[in-house]
Amino acid sequence: MSNGPLLQIRGVETFYGNIRALNGVNVDVNAGEIVTIIGANGAGKSTLMMTIFGSPRARAGQITFDGTDITNMPTHEIARLRIAQSPEGRRIFPRMTVLENLQMGASLDNLKYFDEDVEKVFTLFPRLKERITQRGGTLSGGEQQMLSIGRALMARPKLLLLDEPSLGLAPLIVKQIFEAIRELNKTQKLTVFLVEQNAFGALKLAHRGYVLVNGNVTMSGSGKDLLSNPEVRAAYLEGGRH
């Protein structure tokens, strides 16, 4: 255990071919925090999430997790440090059942805590229990989102990365999922790093936030401060509270 932040991102640059997607990003996530990144489409939010896992790899800069330099570590070894992600597009295994998808999430411990953990996920998302034998590809978008988050939780993560958990979901379910995240953070001290387009909900939920514009962090501060910042309001919050 180091004394610094749990996740430290320093000067990270990521490219797709010759196109620069991240331009020297600095982000800290402290243990026990909920930190959010907000930004428009194409700002590089999802790229940042995947760069943490080395896929794509950062071409410059350094990423450390829990004191370990993970910048050039193979993706599966990064996952084994207990970073779990519910990625962009959910990436449910379509031809596996809900149960098998959750089992995949628990691969790290070889299903040692499976029964105990799966009950927690079902308490969080009772809908998944009803769908347990159904194939992932046949679930609705909202159910897939729940499964994606549930699968990430099955890994007993120290750090949970959530990429747009609210995308395409009904407001009621979004509220449910945000509530679940807050609950996990409060009761289990789970550290959450959240990417959202739903800036209002995310900033209300998060302790701290960063604003990402064209691959640069342009602003950062506590969730409350950003919520009341006129620039943030103008760019991300006007046009309705979700």
């Binding site: 599966h76 084994r80 990436r91 031809r95 995949m104 691969s107 609705s140």
Partner: protein, 300 residues
């Protein structure tokens, strides 16, 4: 009628060997989406390793203990061919992963030629015979069923069951299916994708080695060029059964075996391959994903 059933028995035996080889094609295709054209030659190498082990065993021990010999031949062949296939994957296919689809395919054809030429150079171009290991033949109502046919069918059924269980019910199989469906997500969950793919190549090679040993035992002869035709037939079987499906591979293999033996029995032995491939074409017209192939209905 007796003649017909006799041909069924013969076709079933042949088909079982095709099926064992086909499983290797199907597993590799399922997980990396490439056709390992060297797989037929891996099968041939397996037969040769079994042959060499047999020769060593007979020169060391005076008598022949058939069961023990066959077991040792199989195990050594499995280990050796696994090593071959693992190496091929590592040096020839892995560096090309992520490049355009034709590259690994062409490399696979290259590896196939390398293997058969390697065996031709080191073992000579002639057919290599062994004395018959199992000679018992049973007569059931006028149909002769040899013990070696029974061994082949039983071993195939057993291995299919074991591998089906491995793929569908174990953590390893789950990891394999995860890599097949979404490699990137699998690695996000801590699955070592490279290792999983290596294991798949090893499993396929082990089955090909068993098929090679059984082939040697059944026909009593093997040559360096024996990888090609059974390889192509087994590949056809995998496509026919629905590529990606293990039971499909064996069903496809048995079908090809039956078509071949029945066609040879009633029409002309010269055109048995034409018959087998014509049936393949016809089946694919009506069932494009094969007999047990997965239908592509998914909500996105």
């Amino acid at each position: 009628m007796q003649y017909f059933i006799q041909q069924l028995v013969n076709g079933l035996t042949l088909g079982a060997i095709y099926g064992l080889i086909a499983i290797g094609y199907t597993m590799v295709y399922g997980i990396v989406g490439m056709i390992n054209f060297a797989h037929g030659d891996i099968f041939m190498v397996g037969a040769f390793v079994a042959l060499i082990v047999f020769l060593i065993l007979t020169s060391v021990f005076a008598g022949i203990n058939v069961v023990l010999f066959l077991l040792i031949m199989m195990v050594v062949a499995m280990v050796m061919t696994s090593l071959y296939n693992w190496t091929i994957e590592k040096v020839a296919y892995r560096p090309l992963r992520g490049s355009f689809r034709l590259a690994p395919l062409i490399t696979a054809i290259g590896m196939s030629i390398v293997l058969s030429n390697f065996v031709q150079v080191t073992q000579g171009p002639r057919n290599k015979p062994i004395p018959p290991l199992i000679t018992e033949v049973y007569n059931v109502g006028g149909i002769s069923i040899s013990l070696k046919q029974l061994v082949i069918v039983v071993v195939t059924a057993l291995l299919l069951a074991v591998f089906w269980y491995l793929v569908n019910k174990t953590a390893l199989g789950r990891a394999q299916r995860a890599c097949e469906q979404d490699r990137k997500m699998a690695s996000l969950l801590g699955i070592d994708v490279d290792k999983t793919i290596s294991i798949t190549f090893i499993m396929g090679a082990a089955l090909a080695a068993v098929a090679g040993t059984l082939y040697l035992m059944y026909y009593g002869v093997v040559s360096f060029s024996d990888g090609f035709v059974p390889g192509v037939k087994a590949f056809t079987a995998a496509v026919l059964g629905g590529i990606g499906s293990l039971p499909g591979a064996v069903i496809g293999g048995v079908l090809i075996g039956l078509i071949e033996s029945l066609w040879s029995a009633y029409f002309s032995i010269d055109y048995k391959d034409v018959a087998a491939f014509s049936i393949l074409a016809i089946v694919l017209i009506f069932l494009p994903s094969g007999i047990l192939g997965r239908p592509e209905v998914e909500k996105v």
